[in-house]
Amino acid sequence: MTEQHKDYTGAKLGMWLFLFTELILFGGLFILYGVYLNRYPQEFITGGGELNVWFGGGNTLVLLTSSLTVAMSISALQRGNRSLCVKLLVATIAMALLFLVNKYFEWSAKIHHGIYPGAPSLQEGPPGESVFFGLYYLTTGLHGLHVLIGAGILTWVMFLVRSGKVNGDDFVTLENAGLYWHLVDLIWIFLFPLYYLVL
């Protein structure tokens, strides 16, 4: 019953609404960032200085490239090149995993140095630093979770493309998955400078 009521514009509209909700979800964390930065500028600068720009920058590069490959996969499918589309999706998923591996090493280095929520060294330090790292872990953790979910969605869509259910005539599912992936990318584009660069 639902198959015969395909509505391309409707599906896109629904997805955009969902993306708004994601933006606002992260918006709550950005508000906290703004308020606490205003309250503890010095501690935020110290905390930001301890983050590794190379890890962050590398991951930015990975995510931006993956956004490119997912966009290319849509174009490939629209032009009827299914196998290229699948290859590009696999590349996107691989980059999502690379991002997470990178994040894993970055986090474990921090935790190894005794910087994690509730860590004794943070609790003894100035209060603003513990707030900074609490926010850092929450925001990047929530973003990491979105990367993981995005990779899951892209994998699912890749199988749909392979089986031909998503194809050159009916590609809105792939497009929506791509939109979600761009959102994950976009949030990182704001996270990265706020935590790694401006401080």
Binding site: T9, G10, G14, L17, F20, E22, V35, Y36, Y40
Partner: protein, 544 residues
């Protein structure tokens, strides 16, 4: 319109999608079945909430420890709040009646994303189940109040984490329903169903859906923060590690104040649909009512700070939030004046839906005016955290949304069952409820003025008389509720047959569908040629 009266059998009831028993419901993507599943779950949770409310009143029947004692009292009012807010009022009108009625009102076969709609219901069911599980596991029932304020919510040993997670899941349900309804209204209107021919109930759902989509994520992140605070100790709200508990209050109310418009806007929509039908007059100020829904949704998103006048915000912030709060009163009053103007020189029929709708107007006005006392910083300091707040809240939420839910139940539900209740009993039940209601919540407002604080199981003896009156009235109210539900439910299954359009409504759910509606609602796509309240053009009359 005689062609639609030729109904074959029991409409969508006859078409269970090839499934039987429970599976015909919990796997159905038919918006009517989903709406009914919401309705029955919501009614069950409402009754549980009523029981808890009665327990609260029982403890307060006299000073001192009576039945519950301090800890159980705290758990009881928390549960009463969580169940009534997250499981009854927020999904009440939009999820139950929105699903049942809105697609038919705009001439659609179903919502835009039927499977997502079913997923919303499942999220609701899972969230509700988790909320119930949280009562009996780990540290026992949460005792924080429904607002989950830090620092207590991050320190208490009761099972707050699970309860908060349950609310998080319920939020998902609301977001998905909101997205679905927005897309449905934008994409699936029948030919001729222009924006100015949308029934006002649909307009209100449209405004509500925007609030659901834009505000609920803030609640989600706030709840995530509480869970993080409890599980890993991020310290973002803990002053000892540099956090600020006031930031929690801001984030919480950024959602939870708009949430009261999620609760009240669809209720106002119900009233806007019912009053013209029973006054036999086109609604007065259609555009003003439609736009005021959007205005309330927009202005209501900017007033959360009025919950925090005594939290130590700057005076400037207090004044700004107070001003914005008063601005919300304008579109609300526009609605009330338009309803009253619709009644003027109408040929009013006091059928049960109309009586419930009219009492909405009165009770909501009392509650709404009380809201202005709370919205003015000077008077708010006096009544903050007293029973005045409790009384005000119940006037707008129960007297408002609750009565609108009952009005909708009396107005639309027989259409879906093809049978109806006894009108006389419905009016008696209304009378009991109306008396019980006012003698329960008006004393609360007076007690609040006299300084009785809320959320304590005990009080000083000078408050005893009014508390006794309130407790006795709570029994009258409960008796009325029982009589009302018994009458409606008996009527739906055993009552007299309900015709296609006995109320004489001019919107599509009355003029273009069978009773009960068919699967996918219409035999052919309706073409809309007149507004939803043009009774003459639609050629409809109420049955006598």
């Amino acid at each position: 319109m005689s062609d639609v009266t030729a109904t074959s059998g029991r409409g969508f009831w006859d078409n269970s999608g090839g499934r039987s028993g429970l599976a015909a419901w919990i796997f159905s993507t038919d918006h009517k079945r989903i709406g009914l599943m919401y309705f029955w779950s919501i009614v069950i949770f409402f009754l549980v909430g009523v029981m808890l409310g009665l327990l609260i009143r029982l403890e307060l029947i006299a000073p001192g420890v009576n039945f519950l004692g301090a800890q159980r009292y705290n758990a009881t009012f928390t549960l009463h709040g969580v169940i009534m807010i997250f499981l009854f009022i927020i999904p009440g009108v939009p999820a139950a009646f929105g699903n049942l009625v809105m697609p038919i009102q705009i001439g659609a076969e179903d919502v835009a994303f039927p499977r997502l709609n079913l997923a919303s219901f499942w999220f609701y069911a899972i969230g509700a189940t988790l909320a119930l599980v949280s009562l009996f596991t780990a540290g026992g029932a949460p005792d924080t109040g429904w607002t989950f304020y830090v620092p207590f919510s991050t320190r208490t040993t009761t099972n707050v984490s699970l309860a908060v997670f349950a609310v998080f899941i319920l939020g998902f349900s609301g977001i998905l329903t909101g997205m679905n309804f927005l897309t449905t209204v934008h994409r699936l209107r029948a030919p001729g169903m222009t924006w100015t021919r949308l029934p006002l109930f649909t307009w209100s759902l449209y405004a509500t859906a925007w609030v659901q989509v834009l505000a609920t994520p803030v609640l989600a992140i706030t709840l995530v923060l509480i869970m993080a605070e409890r599980l890993v100790g991020t310290g973002l709200f803990d002053p000892a590690s540099g956090g600020d508990p006031i930031m929690y209050q801001h984030l919480f109310w950024i959602y939870s104040h708009p949430a009261v418009y999620i609760m009240i806007l669809p209720a106002m929509g119900v009233i806007s649909d019912i009053i013209p039908v029973f006054a036999r007059k086109p609604v007065f100020g259609y555009k003003a009512i439609a736009i005021s829904s959007i205005a309330i949704a927009a202005a209501g998103s900017l007033v959360w700070g009025h919950h925090m006048f005594t939290s130590g915000m700057s005076d400037m912030a207090v004044l700004v939030f107070s001003l914005l709060t008063f601005i919300v009163a304008i579109p609300s009053a526009i609605k009330v004046f338009n309803w009253v103007s619709t009644l003027y020189k109408g040929s009013i029929r006091l059928d049960p839906p109309m009586v419930y709708a009219l009492s909405f107007v009165l009770l909501f006005s009392i509650g709404g005016l009380g809201g202005l006392i709370l919205g003015a910083p000077g008077t708010d300091v006096h009544v903050h955290d007293t029973y005045f707040v409790v009384g005000h809240f119940h006037y707008v939420m129960f007297g408002g949304t609750g009565f609108a839910f009952f009005a909708a139940m009396h107005y639309w539900l027989p259409k879906y069952y093809g049978r109806t209740y006894n009108k006389k009993v419905a009016l008696w039940a209304w009378g009991l409820m109306f008396i019980g209601f006012n003698f329960l919540y008006m004393p609360m407002q007076i007690l609040g003025m006299q300084g009785m604080p809320r959320r304590y199981y005990d009080y000083v003896p000078k408050f005893a008389d009014l508390n006794l009156l309130a407790t006795i009235s709570s029994w009258v109210l409960a008796a009325g509720l029982l009589l009302m539900f018994a009458n409606v439910f008996y009527g739906l299954f055993r009552g007299k047959p309900f015709g296609t359009n006995p109320w004489g409504g001019a919107s599509l759910e009355w003029t273009a569908t069978a009773t009960p509606p068919l699967l996918e609602n219409f035999t052919e796509e309706p073409i809309v040629t007149h507004g939803p309240y043009d009774f003459k053009q639609a050629g409809v009359r109420a049955d006598d």
